[in-house]
Amino acid sequence: MRAFVTVPLVLPPVVGGVALLLVLGRRGLIGQHLYQWFGISLPFTTAGVVVAEAFVAMPFLVISVEGALRAADPRYEEAAATLGAGRWMTFRRVTLPSIVPGIVAGTVLCWARALGEFGATITFAGNFPGRTTTMPLAVYLALETDPDVAVVLSLVLLFVSVVVLASLRDRWISGMR
């Protein structure tokens, strides 16, 4: 399970995109059934962008939350149990609050990774303006036609990334430990 989750982390994103096409494409392993039974086709759609970016970025969230869960002290859950809290209440009122920093850090990291995603997105979802063009794709396109626009877009991305890192610094450090 852990290996399965971390594969997208080490896989080159373009390869990830190819893998997604093979599995979810219109003739893919799962994709052909999706198309036949429900008429759903993911590749080269906005939903396809979401799938591709989630595939690449999700490991950041999973690993971060898993680390927080491992670091959580199980004795607090025992204390909650002796106070009469069942499993669900213990999870909701004790476990979950204690891993919030991990969840926040993981979410932001995951989001930041998705923001910059290029390879898997262009492979799986293509580059249709208004439907599947993401910021990095737009930068790449603009670079060929209008370099000034590319620079502006890049600066916007850079600015967002720096703001995210700066606001996250404390939480990230405490959450990952």
Partner: protein, 353 residues
């Protein structure tokens, strides 16, 4: 409604085998050295550790009876104060105290009112909105106690409630804890390795070593008549076992002790270290117990000096004597020194084995 616990738990080479009863209003202290199985027993009763064999029941209600019955902790009417309190750091003190009531389905407003009342009882009303990490050790312990008592448990379990405090506050917190325990109408089981905590707080002591009960009784009884070396050490007495004939006790490990009152059969012999006097020359006159002895160790205590002696073969092989620093100077005590130890027979306490 009495709590009966017949605990049998095996963990590797360690076996816990313990019979306990706790009556309503009674405070029972489980006292023993580290690794004796005290915390294991507490966890089993709390339901955090299932029994391998035995039975835990509060009158007719069975909590644990392998292999059929096991009630999880949240379904036992208990309150636990853990060693490092385990207050939820993301909740305020008030929410911590109200947690148990909320978990048991009490309405939010009622739970808050009740929690406020408990915080007032432990004298921490003004800390209701504070986070636990801003509290001192003693305050955190009181919040933990309030949290455990707020659900009105049938059984209160305390795991080393004073061990995490610094020495200066222990005295005060212990006295206060004693007051709350006396007011509590349910049963209390206190786990501790500190004999003072046990003597002050408990109505009855259960002393365990290596997972077995070695002695049980009222604190005064245990303090006067220890039955094992561990207990004797706790209460600061010299303790020996031997066979009495008339006024003479032949010790199991060699040597004899003369008594003031005759006794027969196997006995325990106990006397305080202050009953021993030390001389350079063999004393003349009345003392009936005089043994040549060798100094094996010297420790400074608060106002006395504790001297460890070997009085074999005529007396006990290990003998503790408390003498004044002035006497140490007079005798010029050094380890290995030979001198004479006398014991006042009137201070010797004997009781059947």
């Amino acid at each position: 409604m009495t709590l009966y616990a017949d605990l049998r738990v095996s963990r590797g080479a360690f076996d816990l085998s313990l019979d306990l009863t706790v009556e309503p209003g009674e405070v029972v202290a489980l006292l023993g050295p580290n690794g004796a199985g005290k915390t294991t027993a507490l966890r089993a009763i709390a339901g955090l550790l299932p029994l391998d064999d035995g039975r835990i029941a509060l009158d007719a209600a069975v909590w644990d009876e392998p292999p059929r019955t096991f009630r999880t902790p949240d379904r036992r009417p208990i309150g636990v104060v853990f060693q490092d309190y385990l207050l939820f750091s993301h909740l305020s003190c008030l929410e911590n105290v109200a947690f148990g009531l909320r978990a048991r389905g009490v309405d939010k407003q009622i739970a808050r009112t009740e929690a406020e009342r408990w915080l007032k009882t432990v004298g921490l009303s003004s800390y209701a909105r504070s986070r636990p990490r801003s509290l001192s050790g003693g305050q955190a312990q009181r919040v933990a106690l309030a949290r455990a008592l707020a659900t009105d448990p049938e059984l209160l379990l305390l795991d080393e409630p004073l061990a995490a405090l610094d020495a200066g506050t222990t005295l005060h917190v212990r006295a206060e804890l004693g007051q709350h325990l006396r007011r509590f109408e349910g049963r209390t089981l206190l786990v501790t390795h500190d004999p003072l905590d046990a003597m002050v707080l408990a109505d009855r002591l259960v002393i365990i070593e290596n997972g077995q009960v070695v002695q049980e009784g009222k604190p005064t009884e245990v303090a006067r008549r220890p039955r094992t070396d561990y207990v004797a050490q706790l209460v600061g007495l010299n303790l020996y076992q031997g066979a009495a004939t008339g006024t003479t006790v032949g010790l199991g490990k060699g040597g004899t002790i003369t008594l003031a009152e005759p006794a027969t059969g196997p006995v325990h012999v106990a006397f305080p270290p202050t009953a021993i006097s030390l001389y350079l020359q063999p004393p003349t006159g009345s003392p009936r117990n005089t043994w040549p002895a060798v100094v094996t160790g010297i420790e400074q205590h608060a106002h006395t000096v504790r001297v460890r002696l070997d009085a074999s073969p005529t007396g006990p092989a290990t003998l503790l004597a408390d003498i004044t620093p002035a006497a140490v100077a007079d005798l010029r005590l050094t380890p290995g020194q030979r001198l004479h130890a006398t014991l006042k027979a009137t201070e010797v306490h004997t009781y059947p084995n």
